[in-house]
Symmetry: C2
Subunit: 402 residues, 2 copies
C-alpha cells in the first residue's frame, strides 16, 4: 500500500517531536507499506525567516526572493526528519520541491501546482526508501523556486497522492479530526467520522483551519480520499474526507469562524456600467481573492461597494483600487479589520430554506449585529464585529447541533 | 568589466552588515560593471544547523542529509542580500548553487566542482542584473544537493570567475590582506602587496585561514587573479594573489599556524612490503587528507607509523585503520590532538639550504620541542605542542622578518 502522510510545522518543532513523527512513519513502513511524507517548516521557522526579511525591507521585498528565503525552512525540516529515520535503521531520502518534481506556475508566494513529475519519487520508492518531501514549494518554468502559500503543504501531500495514485493520504494536525465547530471554543462541538469534499471545502475556506482549501479542491478533483488525524494521538481514528457521505441527522456540518478578514469600502463611487467588472477583474489579476461583496443602493448617481479580503491582501487590494483612480471616480477607500466571518456549512442546506433564518435568529437572540451576508448552496456566512465572533459561534452552533 | 565578489558569513551576519555589503556591490554596479556576488551563510547559521543535526544524531548523520541541511544556510543569506539591493533600486536576482550551474562530484560534504554551466549566470548578467550566488553548494549528477566543504565559498567565487572569465575576483575577509604571520598574534607581522599562487597555497593549506586552499588551487589552474580585501575597510587595497610576483627582500613569505591537527600513530606494525601503500591508499579512498607522515626505524620486525590529519578527520581515519586489522598486524592505534603545526613559506627557500636550520634554531632558542618535520620546495613545517604554538610563531617570525 502506498501511503502519503503530511505533518505540519508544529509536529516537527523540536528534536523530540521529530522522533515522534519518525516513529509513526517507520511503523507504517515496517508493515510493508511504501511511505511518502510531506513536511512543513519546523515550528516558528517561517515566522523567523519573515522577521529577517522585514528587518531588511519592512514593506515589499520581492515575492521571488521571499520564496527563495522561505523555502529554506522545509529544507531544514526534511533533512532533520530523514536523519531521525536513519537512526532507526530504515532507508530514507529527503527531496526538495524541485527534486520531487513539483512544477508550478510563476505566481510567487501563491503559486499553483501545474503538474508533478513523479519519476524521482517512484525511483526512490522502488528502491524501498522512505521519501521525505519538502511541502509548500516547487519551481516554475524558469527554474525559480516558488511557494504555494498558506497551508501549501496540505496541497503538496494531496498532489503527490493524486500523481502516484496513493491508497491513503493522511493529514496530521493538532486536532483529531473535523468538528462541527472549533472544540476549543464551543463546548458542544462534535467530531465527525466523515464529511464530503464540498462541505469540507466550505469549512476550509471559512477558516476552520483544519485543511487548506486548495488541498481539498485538489482532493475532490482527483478523488483522493483524505484522513485528518491528530499527530498527538496518532492511533485515534480521525475524520475521512471523501466524495459522498451518507446523510447524518444534523442538517449542518459545522460552524466556522474566520478572523483573517478585512472589509474594504469604496465610498461614493460614480455609478456607471462596468465598474464592478473593472474593480474585481483588477483584483483577480493581482491574485487577490475577494469573498463577500456588498453593493449599496445608489444615491446621487453614486454608490458604495464593500467587499472582504483576507487581512494579508488588504494593503495590496487598496493599492489596486487606488491605482484605478484615473479611470474610476470615487471619494475614498476605507477599510475595517475588526470584523470576523461566521459561517454554517451543510450539504442539505439548499433544500431547507429555513436554515439561514434560523442562523439569523440565533444571532439576534444573542444581540449580535450582522454587517454583511453571503450565501451559497451549502453555506451561509455573516460578517460581524470581531469581538462578538466567539459568542456568535457558540450561539449558532447550539441552535443547530445538540 | 565583470567583477566577482565573495563575502563570508561574518560579513552578512546581521541586517546592518547585509546593507554594508549591498552598498559595496551597488557602488561597483553603478560604475557600469557587471557584478556577480558569492555569499556564505550568515554568521552562526551553519553552526546552528549543525547543532540541530547533532540533536537528532550526535554521531553520524548521513552526509547527503547534512548537505541538504547546511545548504539552507546560503539560501537564507542570498535572498536577504538580494532584498537589501532591491531597496536600493538595482535589479538583482539570487541563485542557488544548482541554479547557477554548479555541477559537482558526489562526495557529499567535500564535493569538488566538475564544471559550471554558466548559461543562467550569463543570461541574468545580460539582463543587467546583479547576481547573488549561494556559495559552498552545487548538485551532483543525481540532482542531489552537495556542499564543497570548509571555505567552499571561496572556491565557488573562483570557479565563477574562471568559467565566466571575470576581470577581477575579490575575496572579502575580516583581515585586509595576507600577512607574513597572523597579525593578531605576531606584532611584527607585515602585510604583503602581492603573493604568488604557490606561496599562497602553502599558507592556505597551513591554516593561515585567509583563503581556502582549493580556491587557490583553482585560481592557479585557471589563472584567476585574486584580491584579498577587508570587508570592514573595503576601500583599502588588499593583497593580490597571482602567478608571478617579483622577488621581495624577505626570503620567507609567511609563518602560519594550524591547530586543526591530530596526529595518529599505528604502533608496532608488522613490517612487510606494501603496508604504507595499503594504509594511505585506504585513507585516500575515504577522502581523508594526510599531511605529515613519519615512519620509525624498524625494531623486532615491527615499526611505528605516525601521520597527521585535520581534527575533523581523526575519527574517520582511525576507523579506516581499525578496519584494516584483518589484513595488517599491529598492536594499537593511538592519537594526539594537543598538537599544532607551524610552518614557514617562501618561494626562494629551495635554493637556501640554511632556511630550515634557521627555523629549528629559533625554536631551540625558545625551548620548543619539535615532534615531526616536513619540508617541501617552498615550505618547512614542524609539529609541536599546541600550547607552545603562538610562542613558536613569534619566535620563528622574528627570526626571519624584521
Amino acid at each position: 500500500m502506498l501511503i502519503v502522510k503530511k505533518f505540519g510545522g508544529s509536529s516537527v518543532a523540536d528534536a523530540k517531536k521529530v522522533f515522534n513523527v519518525a516513529n509513526l512513519i517507520v511503523e507504517d513502513y515496517k508493515k510493508g507499506n511504501d511511505v511518502i511524507v510531506v513536511v512543513s517548516a519546523q515550528g516558528d521557522t517561517t515566522d523567523d525567516l519573515i522577521a529577517k526579511a522585514k528587518e531588511i525591507n519592512p514593506k515589499n521585498p520581492s515575492k521571488r526572493e521571499m520564496d527563495m528565503l522561505l523555502s529554506a525552512g522545509e529544507q531544514i525540516s526534511i533533512s532533520l526528519l530523514a536523519m531521525a529515520i536513519e537512526t532507526m535503521g530504515c532507508p530514507v531520502i529527503s527531496l526538495l520541491g524541485w527534486q520531487a518534481g513539483f512544477n508550478t506556475d510563476s505566481h510567487h508566494t501563491v503559486a499553483r501546482i501545474k503538474n508533478i513529475n513523479g519519476e524521482r519519487l517512484k525511483k526512490e520508492i522502488d528502491k524501498k526508501k522512505i521519501v521525505i518531501v519538502a511541502g509548500f514549494q516547487g519551481i516554475n518554468k524558469y527554474d525559480d523556486v516558488t511557494t504555494l502559500g498558506r497551508g501549501g503543504s496540505d496541497t503538496s501531500a494531496v498532489a503527490i497522492a493524486a500523481a502516484l495514485k496513493a491508497d491513503l493520504c493522511q493529514i496530521y494536525t493538532d486536532v483529531d479530526g473535523v468538528y462541527t465547530a472549533d472544540p476549543r471554543k464551543v463546548p458542544n462541538a462534535q467530531k465527525m467520522d466523515a464529511i464530503c469534499y464540498d462541505e469540507m471545502l466550505e469549512l476550509a475556506t471559512l477558516g476552520a483551519q483544519v485543511l487548506n482549501n486548495r488541498s481539498v479542491e485538489m482532493a475532490k478533483k482527483y478523488n483522493v480520499e483524505l484522513e485528518v488525524r491528530s499527530s498527538l494521538e496518532p492511533h485515534k481514528s480521525g475524520t475521512i474526507v471523501k466524495e459522498k457521505v451518507k446523510m447524518e441527522k444534523t442538517l449542518i456540518k459545522g460552524v466556522a469562524k474566520d478572523n483573517n478578514v478585512a472589509s474594504i469600502s469604496i465610498v461614493e463611487l460614480e455609478d456607471k456600467p462596468g465598474i464592478a467588472f473593472k474593480i474585481f477583474n483588477k483584483l483577480a489579476q493581482a491574485k487577490i481573492n475577494v469573498d463577500i461583496i456588498l453593493q449599496s443602493i445608489g444615491r446621487n448617481n453614486t454608490k458604495d461597494i464593500t467587499f472582504t479580503v483576507s487581512q494579508d491582501n488588504r494593503e495590496d487590494a487598496i493599492a489596486v483600487i487606488e491605482a484605478l483612480k484615473d479611470t474610476l471616480d470615487f471619494k475614498a477607500v476605507t477599510y475595517d479589520e475588526g470584523v470576523s466571518k461566521v459561517s454554517i456549512v451543510g450539504a442539505g442546506m439548499e433544500s431547507n430554506p429555513g436554515v439561514a433564518a434560523k442562523m439569523f435568529e440565533a444571532l439576534f437572540d444573542a444581540g449580535i449585529n450582522i454587517r454583511m451576508i453571503s450565501t451559497s448552496e451549502i453555506k451561509v456566512s455573516v460578517l460581524i464585529d470581531e469581538n462578538k465572533a466567539d459568542e456568535a459561534v457558540i450561539a449558532v452552533h447550539d441552535k443547530f447541533v445538540n
